[in-house]
Amino acid sequence: MEAIIVLFLSGIIALFLGIYNQPKLTTIISVIGLIGAAIVQHYPLNILPAEYNLLEFNQVGNGFVVLAILLTLLIVLSGQKEFLEEKSHAGDYNALLLFSLCGGIILIGFTDLFMFFLGLEILSIPLYVLAGSRKGVSESSEAAVKYFFMGAFATCLLLFGVVLTYGATQSFELSEILSKTINSSGNAMLYVGMIFILASFLFKVGVAPFHFWVPDVYQGSPTVFMGYMSSVVKVVGIYAFIKFFHMAFGGLYDFWSTLIAILIGISMFIGNLTALVQTKFKRLMAYSSITNGAYALMAILYPSALSDSTLWVFMLGYGTSVVALLTISMIVNDDADEIASFKGIGYRKPLIGLVAIAALLSTSGIPPMTGFFGKLMLFSSVWSYYPWLIVFALINSAIGVYIYLRLIMTIMSKETATDTKEVIVSISQTIVLVLSLLLLVAGWLMLLCWK
């Protein structure tokens, strides 16, 4: 709770400093706010009386909050160069990212449907604005339009599901809904409500059959905010998905688990097979995020997902590699966004090459990287519940290795692209690259901190 207050206040201050045209100061304030929020979340002060506290965080929830804050910090730092180019809006971008993160934290800690709904909306609404923040570019506004209508439609589905669930159980509290659903099976309104909520979640995290907006929106939005959407929003959204279905509909596990398992299987294949033929880098990353989101969602299939570190490690690996790759894309690529412009960048800038290789190896799940440990733990946890799904996931990992190794070959090829822009790495981007390299190579050591 204190973390939200800290983030909100620093967002407000950043917004006001933006009015007075102080872009650098805004950055400093938002970085301080993010670090402060992470500290306050990890060592809570408990200044608020317990009855005002509608959110609760267990150890895993705390871990996810810190992860979301960490990823946002990396994104804020990596986007500074673009923010500073457009001086008059630097404050707005920083502030909107912080406000959206507030919603994310609410979405991790919710205990009833009020906070859940508010968190989801606070997370989404700033992102509609950020997706369209390149005002003169028609792709950006197209992305904003698509994201807005898809998001608003998903919200409506969610609300209709919530109200039907309320009609069947007479409560908005997750624990009471759980106790009612265990006893009263066969209530049609409850099942319809659950299907609506499921559909809206699939929309929000971009899992088939509701994934079609993801590539368009990701390609059209500015790269920084695409980084936020594909890392923080995925992390928070999938955690909330799992929490909601375990803590409210846990009694109906047999009903929804098979359905979700089939959808996960489909969306892994859709993401990977479409990624094979992409020539645009951001579109490739979007399809790769559909596949990786499907892997992460597999955690919903085993009952102890909310009390162990499996999903956290997977998300650490995935989120960091997304942020690292998109930072490199911001440094190297221009608006055309072709993969071909990455040619030979690993030789011209060794740091970029090193980070890119680490990120791609981690996403494809090669042993010393964080992504490998995440995948290993995730697959072995789900194995005893849905073995056929793990077979699918392993086939897809093999396809994924092909996709990512091809990217590594492009980055490390001897010949360089003919007409690339000059590669300048700013200080904040160097910090992001080094930090994400550390997290990708040694992030799994953080497992030792878990009890």
């Binding site: 449907l113 009020f114 709904f117 508010l118 909306e121 609404i125 509609y128 604005v129 369209g132 005002k135 003169g136 570019v137 028609s138 792709e139 506004s141 197209e142 992305a143 904003a144 339009v145 698509k146 807005f148 209508f149 608003a152 439609f153 919200t155 409506c156 609300l159 209709f160 919530v162 109200v163 039907l164 309320y166 009609g167 007479q170 409560s171 908005f172 309104m189 590539p215 368009d216 390609q219 059209g220 992409q278 645009k280 579109r283």
Partner: protein, 109 residues
């Protein structure tokens, strides 16, 4: 509760469920078939209001206040969403000089 009785007198809550489902479906079908984005925005408002109607009906039927509070939340969020949505539409209009949803097809592949 007399107030609750007068609302549901002769009408069970099922009628409200059916009415809101019809309103919700009209909104959803309108969102998928109409091309003018202002009309699409109106369809979203219609869907949200069908939810509000059902929440109030349940609130009166169960004799609980929570659902009415939820309605306030939804109204506030819908206002925020409409604000952002309309400004996105203005942005889109400036770039395309049109708000026909079919024209927004540059991103594909």
């Amino acid at each position: 509760m007399p107030a609750a009785l007068s609302i549901t007198q002769g009408l069970t809550v099922d009628y409200y469920v059916i009415l809101s489902s019809i309103l919700f479906s009209i909104g959803a079908i309108g969102l998928m078939t109409r091309k003018n984005m202002i009309v699409m925005l109106m369809c979203i408002e219609l869907m949200l209001n069908s939810v509000n109607l059902l929440l109030v009906a349940f609130s009166s039927y169960f004799n609980q206040g929570d659902a009415q509070i939820f309605v306030f939340f939804i109204v506030v969020v819908a206002a925020a969403e409409a604000t952002v949505g309309l400004s996105i539409l203005i942005l889109a209009y400036r770039n395309k000089r049109n708000i026909d949803a079919d024209l927004f097809n540059n991103l594909k592949g």
